[in-house]
Symmetry: C2
């Protein structure tokens, strides 16, 4: 089955928004065994949309269209779809009823402008939207089935999952498989060198690299019939890069860590300086984190380090707030104050100011305290403020993850 | 001038990577006065690339192509470009020299595979790459000029800026202007209703909506010659929506708030429960935040609320941790403990668990304490855990922003 996608919006064509929908849909279709043939983006111009629909429907069995279904005058997708299919726009009673059911949930109720959203091409089939005002619709154009979805990602994703993907899942289609290994702490070139000759000549497995700073994703793809080759290749890659793989597939660092923390039965406290709450925000992003996370101390001022974490003022004066000694004292202090089993601390110079010849921007110390004491590591990270904060955060989380794995192995 | 863009890569077509290049290029072209006509994405298949190049060159004066110029066997862009133009691939001495100059900067030196990157279609003109191994090139196809750039964003962006944009800046071209108003606390439909009839009939100003949850961006665009109309339209929109506009253009909530905090000379402390450090992370994302931000308390456990913020345990027991009273006590406690001028606190039920009939998921209280006392607001937000946390965070920041503006107005 040939599937194409079309994104509609001046905000895309003028560079004001990054199109995440195209990527999301492509990923979901790939898993279904259908690779996107081509993706097209056009602006909010009725003639451009009509032309794009006509072109894509010539050589696609299905086209998934996102955007332009909102309540404002620049939302022209329904009108363009009607024109391309030689139909009239008509007021859908079903869509109106849907809008009415949303009225009570919207602040200020439903606005008359929302009524526009109930206009769909005559003869089209509605796609329910459980989380927003815009219904989608399905329309035939030549031999292609066109699926129209709103551009708001959360709405689009639900409707894709619940209506579009089931409609496209042909019984005879061979699924495609994918193994995604997520790495941290190693460069792309080093990964490539390590993997040289790892896949046998003529392997049906595709290997792709994808840098998502500070992570590197290694992607292995194959048709379902080559699953054995795929698993063998994945095993070979895992063996060579084991120490850097922190997660696979849909798993993330945050979720992997959440599962380990939950499984360990241990409690955690945090003390953050240069990451300023980023680590706590990631830990608490996971549902159920209140089961193991007690508290975070964002001790930005030196006075806060002393009062909240009992870091001696003399230690800060003699070693500096960014030092192995202060990182240690922060972790131990956080653990003691919270009465937690574990405590993780971070202090560093994220920049752009505050660097010195001895401690340049990017100097970071991370400490981990538990019942056995406190260990500390020092780093010199490259990059701007956001990069230093982000890699510091990831480094701390990865250390905690490895520590919990070691504990698990000892049990 | 008609300009199209083409992104090449299986990682795009398989949904593993979000295409940020298309958006970046579109934004730069818009500022130059050239709007992207259409954007196309295809995978790493030589025939698909050839077809895309042929199609786009028929009705474009220029096509900017990214991706597929790397050293690996799935990099097929140069071969496809040669085929589309009916040329041979030839080894460019200039590109080879460039590669050689990079050898010493690469860890482990230049890999033999990199030599592939010196193969370009005969008769093409090289585009220098100051930051990577892959040279770009320019090729005529029919009446279109095709610009080929690597897909690595940092390399692509430099080459676009230094070679492609200057080549496309026609002396007669009229620049385009853009005003971006960023709104919070109002629905898209309400904005559209408020602005009805705001632009005069036949106005040369385009008005576009762009939802970036929880923000709504209102974008006004025009040709440079209509600057007066654009500014008048922007002024009219500002007047109607003043209470919701928190930033304009490149300004963000975080930067706007940072400027206000810096200008106020006041210090800030935070106490976060359901946002778990997100507010602190945003405050400290700005350089110089140590000048006004003293500390953040991520008091996830009730015990932490009592010990760190002196919230009476009886109050938590009688009113619940998620209550106006506890939010107030958290803000007052944080202000007292830190000795700050201002303190902002947040407590809420982000879900998915923890909701009750009286306090469903999405129930949130935000409190703001200063020398005059403490005020608290209650909310019922819709959405999943991430959405509730994100809108809570934004609501708290926006309140602080408005409070600082009021103080500024009093001065």
């Amino acid at each position: 089955m040939k599937i194409s996608t079309l994104s509609i919006g001046d905000e895309l064509i003028c560079g004001e928004v990054v199109d995440t929908n195209a990527s999301h849909i492509a990923g979901k279709l790939y898993d279904l065994g259908a690779r996107v043939r081509r993706h097209l983006t056009v602006g909010d111009r009725e003639d451009a949309i009509v032309l794009a629909l006509e072109e894509l429907s010539i050589d696609s069995d299905a086209v998934i269209v996102t955007g332009g279904l909102g309540p404002t005058p620049d939302d022209l997708t329904a009108a363009a779809a009607a024109q391309a299919a030689g139909r009239e726009l008509e007021l859908s009673q079903e869509a109106l009823a849907h809008l009415a059911s949303f009225a009570e949930r919207l602040p200020g109720g439903l606005h008359p402008a929302n009524r526009r959203q109930a206009l769909v091409p005559a003869g089209s089939e509605l796609i329910p939207n459980p989380v927003g005002t815009a219904c989608g619709f399905i329309l035939k154009l030549g031999s292609a089935r066109l699926f129209f979805l709103p551009g708001v990602p959360s709405e689009m994703e639900r409707m894709l999952e619940e209506t579009v993907l089931p409609a496209l899942a042909a019984p005879g289609r061979e699924a495609r498989l994918r193994v995604v290994l997520k790495l941290f702490g190693v460069s792309e070139a080093a990964v490539a060198a390590t993997l040289e000759g790892c896949l046998p000549e003529g392997s049906p497995v595709e290997l792709a690299y994808c840098v998502k700073f500070p992570e590197i994703h290694l992607i292995l793809r194959s048709l379902a019939r080559h699953e054995q080759s795929l698993q063998a290749a994945a095993a070979a890659v895992r063996e060579r890069l084991a120490e850097f793989v922190f997660a696979e597939g849909e798993q993330t660092m945050d979720r992997a860590l959440a599962a380990l923390l939950k499984g360990s039965g241990l409690t955690l406290a945090l003390a953050e300086s240069c990451t300023g709450g980023m680590i706590a925000a990631r830990i608490t992003a996971e549902p159920g984190s209140s089961g193991y996370f007690l508290e975070g101390n964002v001790t930005y001022s030196n006075e806060a380090k002393t009062r909240m974490l009992q870091v001696p003022a003399e230690l800060i004066a003699s070693r500096g707030a960014v030092s192995a000694e202060v990182a240690s004292a922060m972790a131990s202090g956080a653990r003691r104050a919270a009465g937690s089993d574990l405590a993780l601390s971070v202090t560093g110079i994220a920049g752009p100011d505050g660097g010195t010849p001895e401690k340049p921007v990017g100097t970071v110390f991370v400490a981990l305290a538990d019942a056995d004491g406190c260990r500390v590591n020092g780093y010199h990270f490259l990059g701007d403020r956001a990069a230093v904060r982000s890699i510091t955060c990831f480094t701390a989380l990865d250390w905690l993850r490895k520590h919990l794995l070691t504990l698990g192995a000892k049990d």
